[in-house]
Symmetry: C4
Amino acid sequence: MQYQNLRERVCAANREIDRVRLAILTWGNASEVDRLSGVFAIKPSGVDYDALTPEEISVISLASGEKVAGVLNPSSDTATHLHLYRAFPQITGIAHTHSPAATAWAQAGRAIPCYGTTHADTFYGPVPCTRPLTCEEIESAYELNTGRVIAEHFHMHSLNPLEIPGVLVAAHAPFTWGASAWQAVINARILEEVARIAASAEALNPGVTPVDQFLLDKHYLRKHGAAAYYGQGGDPGDRIVNDKSRGHR
Amino acid sequence: MQYQNLRERVCAANREIDRVRLAILTWGNASEVDRLSGVFAIKPSGVDYDALTPEEISVISLASGEKVAGVLNPSSDTATHLHLYRAFPQITGIAHTHSPAATAWAQAGRAIPCYGTTHADTFYGPVPCTRPLTCEEIESAYELNTGRVIAEHFHMHSLNPLEIPGVLVAAHAPFTWGASAWQAVINARILEEVARIAASAEALNPGVTPVDQFLLDKHYLRKHGAAAYYGQGGDPGDRIVNDKSRGHR
Amino acid sequence: MQYQNLRERVCAANREIDRVRLAILTWGNASEVDRLSGVFAIKPSGVDYDALTPEEISVISLASGEKVAGVLNPSSDTATHLHLYRAFPQITGIAHTHSPAATAWAQAGRAIPCYGTTHADTFYGPVPCTRPLTCEEIESAYELNTGRVIAEHFHMHSLNPLEIPGVLVAAHAPFTWGASAWQAVINARILEEVARIAASAEALNPGVTPVDQFLLDKHYLRKHGAAAYYGQGGDPGDRIVNDKSRGHR
Amino acid sequence: MQYQNLRERVCAANREIDRVRLAILTWGNASEVDRLSGVFAIKPSGVDYDALTPEEISVISLASGEKVAGVLNPSSDTATHLHLYRAFPQITGIAHTHSPAATAWAQAGRAIPCYGTTHADTFYGPVPCTRPLTCEEIESAYELNTGRVIAEHFHMHSLNPLEIPGVLVAAHAPFTWGASAWQAVINARILEEVARIAASAEALNPGVTPVDQFLLDKHYLRKHGAAAYYGQGGDPGDRIVNDKSRGHR
């Protein structure tokens, strides 16, 4: 099988979406890019997670957007993933879910304020919410334009996609990313938990305010960058993440 | 066993209601019609899902409403299913659940507005809520009148049951339908997820507004009709759905 | 073992509390009375459900309230059960849980209005909430007085415990009852689901009103009494309930 | 292996955090002190629960705060645990989770009022919420200062850590403690359930008031102290707790 390792990793990441209940039915997909080979691998469209095999994973050219391996149709969101890989050269994996709490914030059209350390550990500021797509953007090249609206938001607000590894698309749902498809799914889990806790915090205290900048700095930088001291050194969580994506449980 | 294939399919769909927690105890039922044979098969009344066998599934004449196979009493909601099969000749399967989020909207007496793409993928507009039944409708032929009130709502509002594959009965619970009993249960899962997310979106933003018509069009038509491009071609989700209803996991 | 059948039934009902997550840790207990023998069996105090054996179930004299079999201390709520068996001669089993949605209504000090058919199928009116106990009632014979306050509420409001098989004790939690310990646990499950859906319905529509009396009549009497037509005849759900309480899954 | 029994107990308690879903990913840690040996054992940083072994558990000197056994880096929250063991000589185990309902109260910056008996059984008053840490406290010795702010709160309000076995750190999450690592995790479960029910009670009745002092006294003292009569005698829950921490299920 061509791109075997990449497809196995992407298959495992997609199955994880189902295992941790980030999407019902086939409502989510994960991909990972191999920039040296100039391709990314992504879930096929409308196929159940529990029957998914590496052979069924589609492989797409980063240059042309055409399928280069796999017999099934790739995810209908493939053009969004393609645009994000082009717009954000720093990222290696993407996950798109419809996890309920994060999707509720997206439907409410609201960014998620940073109310606590669980948020600050991963997202160095609010999780942004894009503007709605226009009629024109929706009627032609919808999935591509979804990627464009995300990239536009990060560009206009000077956000670093490594520091804010996710976004809510208004009236739609979250996209997250990271150093691998697996890490993108991990970030989707974190986003869901953060979204759920933030909604409850607002219900308990309508006047709740975001954390101070110094708390945000402390928690984010404790896990990321040169001065990080969480975990066992190296890429954060790398040892465990790799184990898992090889099927270790 | 008479109608073996139909009864096996209906048994699998009913067990799925339990597996995905759309009803506790015996609070749900699914049926499927075979229009060539002029019968539909439905869950027996008050029997647990985990012990349910195809032999226990009741078979009912579409013409007379009488039981033609099965020794147990059919679901007490049989007259509702019967009326819906007669009123909506386009549908082949029906599911009735009391999934908590959808039931809360029904008890609140509110249609579910379309706040996002997960809704638009399946329901081409708000999920409607019927008027309450009158005293007369409840005191005689209650279950039949439940079907009538549903059909009346779709007729009065010119709704196409293929485009809006479900409804909330006021003060009661949801009914969904589709191209098979299995697909009706899938639609019940989607309705529950949509109901849950919509309630959370309203809590996060009391001024949330429904999606634009062009977004609704895009998402619905991406999955349904001649221009659909989601999935692997053919009836949407058909390959996987059939696998599942044959017991594949 | 003395009272073997009774203790096996009570052990199974208590384990069911845990299996369906009506209580965490040891926060629930179920009992069943054998009125001919003049005893009831109840969970021992503070013992985990998953290790519980019939031998560990305590047996209590209905006349004296003294333990007549079992080496462990009976539930600290034994005096409440005893008083309810004496006050409500129609009932055979009792369950006490701290399921979260029902307990929230109890802590809120509110009866649960009947907002829908799931409620009406089992509770022939609102699920009542007692008055708080006084300082005197709490400081002496607290558990006995808990039973007294429940019975007082039913007496003062002329409620029939067979028609309203449960209650919320203010600032505390629910008690439910039925024709067996198993049925009492079933009613605790129903109460939890009803409580959860009612809370969501109020959030979705603060002006929601209880169902009409004729809908309440229809649904309750469809399942209970001489004209019942739900299920397979005989005691409602009896066949399945008995299977389950014998360990069938 | 050095400190084998202690590390096995701490490993089991950490795995329990995962089993009962008090934290996703690696978002929680439990520790236990052996005051005779002058050490405490704690989870290593950033390691998954399901692969955790006793050998991986770090052992820390209570006097110096230095690691005395184990090759992995200890939890980044080690300095918080260390300070709590020094400030609260009565406690033997500590758990830190990010369970969603308790964390929402922490992010809302609110103590959890005692609205019912489930709360009163374990917490002899509101579960307090600390003040936010200052910029200075966060920028240097953050984790140590987290412990200091907790101890300061208990000291200033004359709270007894045995009577209030947990706290919410503002904008962060809960810490709980007890007579063992296992008991600290049990208290974290109780806190989560209490937090969840209290939030629902407020939503159902915005005017809900805390329980009377005499109800608080009754329930707390029914389980704790010389006059306790819940359970089977001895340390409350001791028999079962010990079984569990030895891997009994």
